[in-house]
Structures are given as structure tokens and as C-alpha cells.
């Protein structure tokens, strides 16, 4: 019984993401891509929805960066490498 309670209170890695709901996050993705946007939703697979998102696609050279904007985007979790809060 007590082990069940401690399991519920234990901080999990994904809790960091929960605190970022409605906040700006930085997401690093597979295929030399990064995305910044406001986190609107996520699940345990790291699937997520970002609003007012900006995607950066990096090329071979430092200066080839392609920038794409999207007002609302669902990102499939299997492409995600890391998620970080943006300090403003």
C-alpha cells in the first residue's frame, strides 16, 4: 500500500514537461531539426501539440538553416530527442 503511494508522489521525468504546459519549449528532433513553440498537450509517448511553432532545419553548413512557422502542429513522439523549457 505505502509503495503505491510513494510511486504516485515520486517525480517522474515527464513531470518536467507537465510544468511546461502553456509555456514555451525547445524541442530537438531527429533529422537535424529543432522546434520552439508553446506546449498545448503531450502524452507518455512524447507526442505533443505546439502552438505558434517555429521549426529550424539545419543543413550541412552552419549557415543553411531553413525556418518554417506553423500556428498549430502535432509532433509524433518517436522523432523527439529532447525537450527543454525556454527561460525568458
Amino acid at each position: 500500500m505505502s509503495s503505491v503511494q510513494t510511486a504516485a508522489q515520486q517525480e517522474e521525468p515527464l513531470d518536467l514537461i507537465r510544468y511546461q504546459l502553456d509555456e514555451m519549449v525547445f524541442v530537438k528532433l531527429r533529422g537535424a531539426r529543432e522546434m520552439k513553440g508553446k506546449l498545448q498537450g503531450y502524452d507518455s509517448h512524447c507526442n505533443m501539440v505546439l502552438s505558434d511553432a517555429t521549426e529550424f532545419i539545419y543543413g550541412d553548413r552552419k549557415e543553411d538553416v531553413k525556418v518554417k512557422e506553423s500556428e498549430m502542429v502535432f509532433v509524433r513522439g518517436d522523432s523527439i530527442i529532447l525537450i527543454s523549457p525556454i527561460e525568458e
Binding site: E12, R18, L21, Y42, V49, S51, E71, M72
Partner: protein
């Protein structure tokens, strides 16, 4: 299950699905299942000059695992509802 329900609310909306092989398909979302496989109707490829393979295709099924992004219109999403649903799902997961 959260995003399964989320996509069910987007049925009949116009979406742009970007696949992991860079093909972008615009179409009407017709159905979704638990794997987030999607069925799209009236499709067109956004970058058609580069990917003309789907010119003759009207309806298609996309395996969920090949999807990179699904671009949506902002007014088709209730942000507060989605945030609350995410918190509820996180609580349910923690309780397991």
C-alpha cells in the same frame, strides 16, 4: 489515448500531414485509430513538383509511425481543453 481522442475531434477538418520522408500531404482527415494511423480524403501533395508520385491518388491511408508532423489550423483546437486533458492523462499515468 489522449491524441487518439484529440484526432477524433479533428475529423472532417483540413490537415497537412508531413511524413518522415519529407512528403507533405494536404487533405481532409476522415478517420483515425489507436495507432494514430490516419485516413485522408481529397488529398494533394504540398511539394508536388518534388514528389509527383501521389498526383493520381485521391484517398489514402497513412501508417501512424511514418508521420513526423500534422499541421492544424489554430481555431480547430481548444487549447485549454487540451492542456487540461494532458494534465488528467499525466495524473492517470502516475496513478498506475
Amino acid at each position: 489515448m489522449l491524441f487518439f481522442s484529440f484526432f477524433k475531434t479533428l475529423v472532417d477538418q483540413e490537415v497537412v500531414v508531413e511524413l518522415k520522408n519529407d512528403i507533405e500531404i494536404k487533405g481532409t482527415l476522415k478517420s483515425v485509430d489507436q495507432y494514430l494511423n490516419l485516413k485522408l480524403d481529397n488529398i494533394s501533395t504540398v511539394n508536388e513538383e518534388k514528389y509527383p508520385h501521389l498526383k493520381a491518388v485521391k484517398t489514402l491511408f497513412v501508417r501512424g509511425s511514418t508521420v513526423r508532423y500534422v499541421h492544424l489550423s489554430a481555431n480547430s483546437v481548444d487549447c485549454t481543453l487540451l492542456q487540461d486533458a494532458s494534465r488528467r492523462e499525466a495524473m492517470a499515468q502516475a496513478g498506475k
